[in-house]
Every structure is written in C-alpha cells, then in structure tokens.
Symmetry: C2
Subunit: 544 residues, 2 copies
C-alpha cells in the first residue's frame, strides 16, 4: 500500500523558486573579476536564472546537453548553477587549474555545447577553443562593453548581452528527479579524469543534509563565504544549501589572498566560511601581525586535506572561531563526514575534545561507511584497526559518466581509495590513501603515521614514506626526508627518534633517504607515484 | 539523461539503522507509566525494533496492514515507530483523548490488526475491544508480570513476552519509498475523522527538514524532550529527526504536570523541549513560585495554538529560553512554518523582533504556501491582506485514506482551512479558521482580531466572535463575552472600547452578548459551531 502524500519531485528549480519566494531580498554579494563589489538579491538570482534558461532554449540546447563553466565564485556562476540545471541541462564545472590539454580533453569527453568563462580565464579559452569542436557557443561572463574585440574566439558573446535579450518569465520543467543536473571530473592521479554525474535528487538531498546543525549548520541568520571553489564539487554544495535556507551569500571571486578575504569577511558580516587549509593559512598570516580580529565569524568548515592542529587551536583560542573538519570526495557530492562532538563529549576537557576534532568526523545521515581488510571482511570500529574505506548513500556515485572505469561498486559500496580507522563512536580518521599504505608481512603500516613522526623532528621540513619491495615481508617502509635549511640530522638519529614515539617496532622504517625535495602536485599534495619512480633503482639495506 | 548516483530509497528503517550504527550508545530516557525512569540506548531501540518486526512476521501480518497504538511518549512506543513502519506495516497512532465510540470507529475504519496500548489505557481498551472485530491481537505495553489476569480482553499478551520470544536479527525490507508508513486521524469538528497516510519518503524528507537550524535545530549535542504526544502527528516528527541526528531523547510518559516535567528537564540535561502552550503554562506555574531556573534548556518550539506573548517573554526574559512559534497540521506531517528571524532582523530592537516572533513563521523548504481570496486569486504578501491559506509539498497529503472526503486539492494545493496573512518576508500569521471568518459586504473580518480586542478589556475573561446573518451585509460580527468574576462592563462600554483600538469602523461588532460560558472542546479550543447553535434564535439589532 502506498502512502497518500503529494508527488513532488526533488528538483534544483524548487530551490531557487523557494529562495525567490521566501527570501527574495536576501543578499548575494560578489567580489568581481573586475575588482569591484557587486550586490543583488535572491530575487535577482532567480529572475536572471530564468533569463538564462530562456537563452539556452534559444540555443536549441536539448535536455541533458552540457553547459560548461570555467569561473570563480560569483553571482553569474550562481545563476548558471540554477539556470542550467533547472532547465534540464547539465552544468559542467571545469577546474581552471588543470592543464589546457586536460581541459580540452574534458570538454570533448563531456561533449560540452556551451562554455561560459570568467575573463581571467580568457587565455585558457584562447589556448583550447580550437580543440573543442563540440562547443557551439562561447560566452564571456562579463558586460557587453568588456568583451574584447579581437579575442580570436569565433562568435564570442558577453553573458550580459546574451541573457538581456530574454524575458525573465519561465516555467521550470517538471523533470524526473533522477535527471542528471551537473557533473564534475575527478583529478585522478592516474589515467584520464572520470566524471561524477549528479542528479536533481542527489543534489537536493545533499542540500538538506549539508545544512543540518551537525554539518554546515546553515540558517537564514548566516552570512556565508564559500572560499571552496564553485568549479570543484559545487563548492561543497553551498549554493544549493544557501538557497534552501535563504542565507546571505558572499563570493570572493579570484581574490583569495589574506587581506581580501579578511576585508570581505568583516565588511559583509560573514558568520561562516568554508575552505581548504592553505587559504586559511594566508588569512591568519595576514591577521596575526596586524592584530586583527573577527567581529562575526563564528565557525569554519575545513576539508580537502587534514587541518593542522595548530591551525585549529589558533582559530579557536585566538579568534573564537570553531573549526570543523569535513571529509568527502567528488564522488560523494562531496560531503561524507563532519567532525562535530556528541552530547556525551561536551563535559570532556579541551585536550580530549581536540583529539576527537582532529578526526575527519561522523557520517551524515544518508551516508553509511565501513572499513574492510585485505580479506574483504568488515573491520571493527575500535579506532585502531584500519582498512579500505567504503561508502554508500543517495549522493554517492553508482558509476562514472559514460561508464568510464567500469563498475566501481563492490556489493553496492563505493571504494573511496582512502584507508581509515573508525572508533566506537563512529568517528572516522583517514590514515592513508589505499595506494600509499605499506603492506609488511600481511600487516598494514600507515605511511601518514610514519611521516608525522619524522616531521615532528626539529630538523625535518618534510617527509614522505613509501613501501619498498622486500623478499620476505613483501614491503618495508622507507622515509624520504627533506631537512630544514641549515639543520642536520643523521639516518640513525632519525631512526632512534622513532623509538621514543608510540609506534610498533615492526612499523619503524628500514631506512631514511635524504632528498632535496619531495615531488608535489598542483594542489600541494605529495606525489608518491613520482617519488616511487625516482626511487626505482633503490634497494633496501640487506636486499639486492 | 539520468544522473549516475546510487539508488537508495528513503526508508524509515535506514533512520534506525543509522542511529544504531553511528549513535549506538546515545541515550533514550523514559518516565514510564509505572512511574520509574527507564534508560537504554539507540542500539537497544534498534535491536528491540528488529524483534518487534519479527513478532509481526510471526503474526502473519501482510505488508501494509495496520498496527495501532494507544500510548504515551515512551521507549516502547518508539520501538513501534521503527519496527512497524520499518517492516512494511503501517503504524496507526490513536489519540486516547477521543471518545471510546470514536476510537472504535477509527480502529474499524483503519482495519487495525494489532493494537498495542499502555496500561493506563486498559479501561479504554476494555470499553472498545468488543467493537473492534478487525483486531486479531491485543498487546499491553508492559512486562509479563504486570499483565492483569482478568483483563477481559481475549488473548491479551504483554509486549515484553511477545517480543522476547524473537531473535534480534532482522533484514529490513527494501521497500518502495512511497510505501505507506504511518497514519493519523484528524480530529475534525464535523463528520467522521479522516486519516492522513504518510509514506517513508514523506517521513524521511520531513525528518531532514525538521532538524534544520531554522526549524528544530537538532544535533547530536541535544537532549530532546518531546512533550507533544507521539499519538498525534508523530510528535511533530521528533522520533525520526532524533534518529537522524543521534540526539538524546527524553520521554515524559503520562506525567505532564509542571513538577514532573521540570524535574525531567533538569535531571536529563534537556536542551530542547516541544509542546503546546497549556503544558508550558503548568511548567512555568510550578517554577515561578519556587524561584526555579533551567540549567541547560535553551529553546522550545510551541505549536498547536498561538503562544501568548506573555509566555514568550517569560521564557526569554526570566529563563533565557528561546520560544519559537511553529505551525502545521496533521495533513502536513505536521510542520509547515517555523518562526525564526532572518539575518536582517538581528539588528532590530527587541520589541520589533517580538512582533515578528508572534507570527506563525516562514515556510520550511519543501513546503510552499499561498493565500487566496474569495475569487480564487492569489493575494499579495503585504502582511495585511488575508485569505484562505493553501499549502503544497512532498509531506502534504494528496488525499485521505480510503478517499474519504473526495479530492481535497485545488490545482495541486491543499486548503488548510486557516485564514492568514503573509508579509513581504514570507512570515505567515493565522488570522482565523476559514469557517469562522466573517464575511460582511464582500469584505472579510477576522474573528480572532475582534476577540483579542474584547479580551484586552479588563472586565472580560473570554470572548468569542461569530458572524450572524444580515439582510444587507450577508453577515455581521457579534461578540459573546464572559465577564471576569465580580467585574462589570456594559454592552455600550465594550463597543466604545473598540473605538479606542486600531480597527476599522465596519469591523466593530454590531452587538455584545453576555454569556456564562463559551463552549470549549477537549483540547481547550472554542467550539464556535456549538456557540452558533446556541445562538440560532438570536437576531441582530435592527433585523427580524
């Protein structure tokens, strides 16, 4: 027997309609590429999204066709979020930090029909447009009078003149809620990028979940600064959750330096900001010497990589800002866990609370997770056993766009590629990437643990631990170390240093290799594949 | 093109599985009918819900068959919420305050197969069981040794012995998310009661929405006391939202007096309580003379009827507890609006904030609303125009169980039976029930406004305004007034009193009728139908 409740599909268009109708005068503030500040309201977002939808109709774009963006966080990008998906097309956000060759490949793979870009990315578009035969229309996100006369891009139009020609009345189509709404390519370290293809249903459910008190805690009283880019996993879903709650949105545009971000936070009364540790490092670096404080900022969610404990303390103790760890991935829309305390933790002393807060957090309802050992069996939640982390849920991918990479699921669970522990209270902590974990004599060794110990040594600037082939143990850990300028430490001193730390004897590295630098990727992550390549002729002590 | 996200139906079983897995040791505390305090955890709720599901299988209950409850707020009732719906049956919560004849009628209409009741309601069950031929099994929510030997109810078993016989392993069925999950009859003032039939989808979406910061703001750090009964509209969905967030739950059982509620709030560190004004009146009545304070309670949501401004002030100013107005109905699962401020209101002076807080609130994303005039056209959101309030959304009914009352929708919108204004910021305020509004010369007069003015007169204890037939104006208002003991006021004095208030001349009542009492219903609401019956021979001055 079915229930007798109203049929109402979960659609992205209902988010912008809600914000329009119930939070019409709520503010959207953007620092533009031009450098100035632009202000308008949810009502304007809605009206211009409708104009945009009409412009796409005018281009004869069929349902499901892709509209790409290469753009900063700003109001026109927000309109594209709602206008493209709401009208039944698929929004394809492209990471401008990719190599132009990769961008051209992605545009071709996605078969993008329209590509909209901020003027700061004109050089990229000039470099790739000839290699993008699927694109029928190039749109510069600027006023008509800012359009360069000689861009070299055939038929280039300005966004403003494109949508100005349209009326702002539009009837959003009533789509199947499983219709594709947007896509994002993962920047995989091996092989070609693969795309997650989100749906209206997954996006709407994620929008509810992301706004919950134990997640981003968004209300109509918030002023929210998403520093996390809209070109990557939908700025953690903030644009959708913002429409759902009617909060004020503040976009930083391209100005992510400490001074610009600080001034925006203060000028717009930002209460909540979301981003990666590097941006916050710049922000605190600007504030500390000048003795600056926040007047309204009360919390920040940090994800993308683990937040250094010192940064968490600085935010909390010096600035009264609560730092929440988040974990997720492109394949998860992206939120999977968030680190907030439970009722029973509130009476703990601060240092014990900090131990919990350093973990990646608890699952958000909708997402389930498990850790699995080499034998495929689920491991206990004791905070010690670590294994491959699997997730499932309505905002987790089932497969990639065009079936790339085959069926990724194992018994309905998505393998994250991370290795983690989960404690008895459900707090997950990443200990490694699966491909970096060291398997020694059937036991797993966390490369991150080994690196953290080395980096705690006063002479060490950076450390990377990798497994090296061993005839008896399969693999044994070695640690590549960059010394701090002017500092000295010997191999034996460093190995002795491990004995002073809580680490099992068999987990201590077999060797220390001093190097000038550890290869880093574009986002600052260590490229261990490259390190392993550099060490391909290396042999462990006592082996040949 | 469809998205490529995982298929995962929105099911009530996933809520209890989540609480079990991620908040296993989270506490559930209940004051029992026996008077003692019972404590256990979400893990226990889950295990015993699985036993219950098996017990229902043992009764050969087919999917969709109804299991009724007549019970207070407590842990066994909570298990029924998850075990009955999770296993694919429909939970039918019955209001014990209904007349036994009505209860028997409802049980027959719902075709309940199993009926579970708290021992306090044994007399009701003894009175009705012979008139309930559909019920095959009667279950007393008690231990085996508390079962009366001579209840007179054939085959009566104790809940504990019934489920104890079952193992706690169970595989929740993967249902269609639109499957019916629970039902609740409206206590309509005319005709037979009609039932809303909720689905797993509507319940799960409502659970997300109800936990949002702008709604009940539920997190794992909360200790939640639902005083609002589980026998009526699922205690505003708190049991489901509690499982979704893993918060602590505290159940008051039958002890709703001020002393019991206060002691439970303090003993269990309650941070949030939900209920109707009458219960809070008893609570404050207990606290004030004793000079008691709350140690952790920080907010309360009040619904069911408008909260008197004096109570809002007392909670806020004397006890530091924020009072949030809510509005909804059985047909809405039940939440429709909640009154929280927006970003732009935070700088307003307290008295202006209070003006907003007295309204019923803003729509929660998922629900949309509109007000409509006599001509069926949508009215402006200016805070002045008032009309019939219509709602729609995925947790609003489409039709009633068994099609009773025909198709209630008008162009996809559900008529609430309330008359309201909506202001430019989307805040809705109920001005009347549709059937009580007075239509004079094509204009509407709010009976509530007229009553509020009369009740502001120092000599008036209670006032009820109804429309009386008028040959020229169709209807004209008259106000029936109960004087305070020992107080005196004449008809002319009272009509003059209206002239000192902001009310249009044509809205002033044509007459005042002094009465000894105004007929009240079981929940304390004025029964205007009955008042109109009493006044059936009344004629307006100047008419015949």
């Amino acid at each position: 027997m079915l229930g007798l409740m109203q049929h109402q599909p979960l659609l992205i268009s209902t988010l912008i309609e809600f914000a329009d109708r119930h939070h019409g005068d709520g503010e959207i503030v953007s620092r533009r590429v031009e450098g100035d500040i632009h202000r308008y309201t949810w009502r304007d977002v809605a009206a211009r999204s409708r104009r945009l939808a009409r412009a796409l109709d005018g281009e004869k774009l069929a349902p499901g066709e892709r509209v790409a963006t290469i753009a900063w966080n700003g109001y026109r990008h927000l309109e594209l979020y709602f206008g493209v998906s709401g009208s039944g097309r698929v929004l394809h956000t492209i990471n401008p930090r990719l190599h132009p060759e990769q961008i051209a490949w992605i545009v071709g793979h996605a078969e993008d029909r329209v590509l909209c870009f901020d003027m700061s990315f004109l050089p990229i578009v000039q470099a790739v447009h000839a290699k993008c035969p699927t694109v029928r229309k190039w749109v510069a996100l600027c006023d008509a009078d800012k359009l360069p006369a000689d861009s070299g891009i055939p038929g280039l139009v300005s966004y403003e003149s494109w949508i100005a020609a349209q009326p702002d009345s539009y009837h959003w189509p009533e789509l199947d809620e499983n219709t594709a709404s947007s896509m994002c390519y993962t920047s995989g370290t091996t092989g070609n990028p693969k795309a997650a293809l989100y749906s209206h249903r997954s996006t709407t459910l994620h929008a509810y979940a992301a706004a919950l008190p134990d997640v981003m805690n968004l209300s109509a009283r918030d002023s929210v600064l998403p520093v996390v880019p809209m070109f990557h996993v939908n700025a953690w879903g903030i644009p959708y959750s913002a429409a759902l709650t009617g909060c004020k949105l503040v976009f930083p545009g391209p100005a992510l330096d400490g001074k610009s971000v600080y001034e925006l936070i203060e000028a717009e009364g930002v209460t909540y900001a979301a981003g990666v540790p590097t941006v916050w490092q710049m922000l605190l670096g600007h504030m500390k010497p000048a003795g600056l404080k926040f007047s309204k900022l009360n919390r920040t969610v940090i994800g993308g990589s683990a937040c250094p404990p010192a940064m968490i303390s600085a935010f909390q103790d010096d600035y009264g800002v609560q730092v929440l760890h988040a974990w997720g991935m492109t394949e998860m829309s992206p939120l999977g866990t968030l680190c907030t305390l439970k009722n029973k933790h509130l009476a703990l002393p601060p240092e014990q609370q900090m131990k919990i807060r350093l973990k990646q957090g608890r699952a958000i309802y909708g997402v389930d997770m498990k850790i699995v050992g080499d034998d495929g069996k689920e491991l206990p939640w004791d905070g010690k056993a670590f294994g491959d982390l699997y997730v499932k849920g309505p905002w987790v991918v089932r497969e990639y766009f065009k079936g790339e990479g085959g069926d990724p699921l194992v018994d309905g669970w998505f393998p994250t590629g991370d290795v983690a522990t989960i404690d008895a209270d459900g707090y997950m902590q990443i200990t490694d990437r699966s491909k970096d974990v060291i398997k020694s004599g059937g036991e797993w060794i966390s490369s991150i643990d080994i690196e953290n110990i080395a980096m705690a040594h006063p002479a060490v600037a950076m450390a990377a631990c990798v497994g090296m082939p061993h005839p008896k143990w399969d693999e044994r850990p070695v640690v590549a170390v960059v010394k701090k300028p002017g500092a000295e430490v010997s191999k034996d001193e460093l190995l002795d240093f491990y004995k002073t730390k809580t680490v099992a004897k068999w987990q201590v590295p077999d060797d220390v290799i001093f190097v000038d630098a550890i290869p880093l990727g574009a986002t600052g992550k260590m490229l261990k594949t490259k390190l392993r390549e550099q060490l391909k002729d290396y042999r462990l002590p006592g082996t040949s």
